[in-house]
Symmetry: C2
Subunit: 463 residues, 2 copies
Amino acid sequence: MARAGCDLIALALVLAVGCRSPEPATAPERPAPAAFAQRALQDNGAWQALADLVAVAPRRLTGSEGAERAVQWAAERFRAQGADEVRLEPVRVPRWVRGEASAAIVGEAGDEPLSVLALGGSVATPEEGILAEVVMVRSFDELRAQPERARGRIVFFNRPMPRALANTFQAYSEAVPQRGSGAIEASKAGGVAALVRSLTTQIDDFPHTGSLHYEEGVDRVPAAAISTLDAEMLAARLLRGERVVVRLRLSCATLADVVSHNVVAELRGRELPDEVVLIGAHLDAWDVGHGAQDDGAGCAHVLEAMRLIRALGLRPRRTIRAVLFINEENGLRGAHAYAERYAKELGRHFAAIESDRGGGPPVGFDCNAGGDKLAAIRAVVHELRALDCGAFVPVPGGAGGADIGVLRPAGVTLMSLITNTQRYFDYHHSERDLLATIHERELALGAAALAFVASSLAELDQR
Amino acid sequence: MARAGCDLIALALVLAVGCRSPEPATAPERPAPAAFAQRALQDNGAWQALADLVAVAPRRLTGSEGAERAVQWAAERFRAQGADEVRLEPVRVPRWVRGEASAAIVGEAGDEPLSVLALGGSVATPEEGILAEVVMVRSFDELRAQPERARGRIVFFNRPMPRALANTFQAYSEAVPQRGSGAIEASKAGGVAALVRSLTTQIDDFPHTGSLHYEEGVDRVPAAAISTLDAEMLAARLLRGERVVVRLRLSCATLADVVSHNVVAELRGRELPDEVVLIGAHLDAWDVGHGAQDDGAGCAHVLEAMRLIRALGLRPRRTIRAVLFINEENGLRGAHAYAERYAKELGRHFAAIESDRGGGPPVGFDCNAGGDKLAAIRAVVHELRALDCGAFVPVPGGAGGADIGVLRPAGVTLMSLITNTQRYFDYHHSERDLLATIHERELALGAAALAFVASSLAELDQR
């Protein structure tokens, strides 16, 4: 009963869309969001896809055997679902292997182990480890102001993800520089390694990994993530004035590049096959947990959206192209390969929509379009209010995820599926990123929302 | 970054509210939704309240000792938070006790136990149980069409909650009549007991309880909920033509009424203390699980909303009255007692807002108001779009939850906090309704949304 009002709103919006972008008389009627949701919830295909993916390739870091199994699996699944064409597009990718990681506070009473994970891309320590005193900083400015404190030390970056921000991605973006550039800044200050507080608002004992960068001309020092629980403990001891000495051992390594693939599947457009609505996610995942949220959920959204569009008997005017990118987590090589391969066609990409915010309940879409196109897309997204996921967030500069972000310079209209991410960073890049954190109905509704928007945009009369 | 657009929308809406309902120059500035969210997320008070409630009174069925502990606890907590006044308002309530429940398929190979729970309010079976053949129906119409099938049998109502509906409350409302009235319909058809498929879209082994009704002049037969897993198994055997005999034993009982209380706490209005914005939830819970979702979360929303409003230094124009009702689950006596006690003041209730949809991420509010008042309330709710929970659902007939629904005949404007409930019915009325199902950030944002809307409505110039 509570939805009756929403249906009226949705109806009004359908009419509004009609006024804004009149369809030719021959255009088939677009199904309502509820039709997508019903099919998605009834068949539970997104959940089945995700459960299958994490069974086939629970660990699928770029360049690994698991990643190749995931590539083959995805192609087969698209074929089995009846895509018009499925292609494996070669991408030269980096290969980093985690090896072992350990850290401990070294004291008179014996070693006290710390929960750590190497940051992706880190160099190894010497085999015997690095033994050094720890110095804590909360920001790069603090470190730069007193670089002598860091000389010969392990620099402990302890800036928490600010828990008071309702937008968890904003909180993440405020704290993530210490992970991405902490090793560079530590090295510039004379430090011998970096320990980085895990990026999560929870206080628990799971370290969260993620990629780091090095800078040409700056010595590469090893870097590891430390759990928030151990970060709090370390901080408390350091703030009491205790001298804390830590031994850090990492045996990670960067091997030679290998060839992997983006997986591309198409539903050819009925009238404008050269115009493309891209829906994408990334197939690789960090090699802790099973990447169920990041980005198995996105892959399931994309696979299921393609299945739903066919299951509802649709063949929209434009081509819908599903792309499961490789190497989002540590290189974006898949995204760059796509941008190069299709450079001449990007002008005919009507929109590129990414799902890389986990399997939580869908909230809506963001979009970087302007003018009439923005209005038309907004009207489509607003129809989803009937499913409580019709929020529309215009972000002129910055919509979209990391993979489709590579298409920004080409002027492609970028969108991303926004989910509720209050729980997301509890799991992100850690051993907790498992299937059990995802609810089948929330995942199904995300796929339904993506299928509705992609197929509706592929049908719009708007240029 | 993705929120920049939303902030603009929120700003536009603030301006729109300003145009619609100009405040006198002396009215204090209302804090933005983000201010409530920041405080709620930083302090984590809603989670602390809920954790405390389920520790103090994990089982708090109306009339039980646990319910009385919950009443005293809530009053103390409101006082400790600095409410202007806290009252315990007596309510004569029913007292039903669950006793033991067991059921088993009785066959040559021995008993096969079934997962069952007595429905709330059920009469007991004889001590030796009821031994009868089972007949399955999917609807009352099917039962009424062939009542002879039910004579002397245990009637098994096996209508699933339709999983394809995106709105879980709508799915619930389609299946709930078999729980509420199954015992009546079984008895009218000559049946000796009712077994009712649990109301959840999950297939698992947890029975979900809930209240039933009896009808004057119709023999009262015992009724129990059966887990969906066992319901599926029973159905498969019956559809194969197997004769299934079940022994059902329930030792539940209805005792004499006792006196319990609604807990009422007020923040007195600055200018219009006799006008009331009511925020409510229910303190009682079924005696399985800990009622963390139903409705511990609502109690935590209400307690925390009152704390947040004070913490932000607000004293709105109208009185904000928190009411934690007793006996929502099996009688609504608390709601009726409130309606009687305040009968003469209901005309000065600006709105009554209920939270009884669990602790999931807040989505928005529904509302049964019309005209200018609807527009003013809608504008306030839309400000919450900055937090992705500004959905506004006008439902002229039916807004609000069960407790405040009792105020409908008096013409009170009713609203309820809508949360995302895709997971809710996995836990509802079962042993799974535990604190661990609730996420502290989702709960905090629900409290922030409630605090923002209640304090804003209490400040509006609108009559």
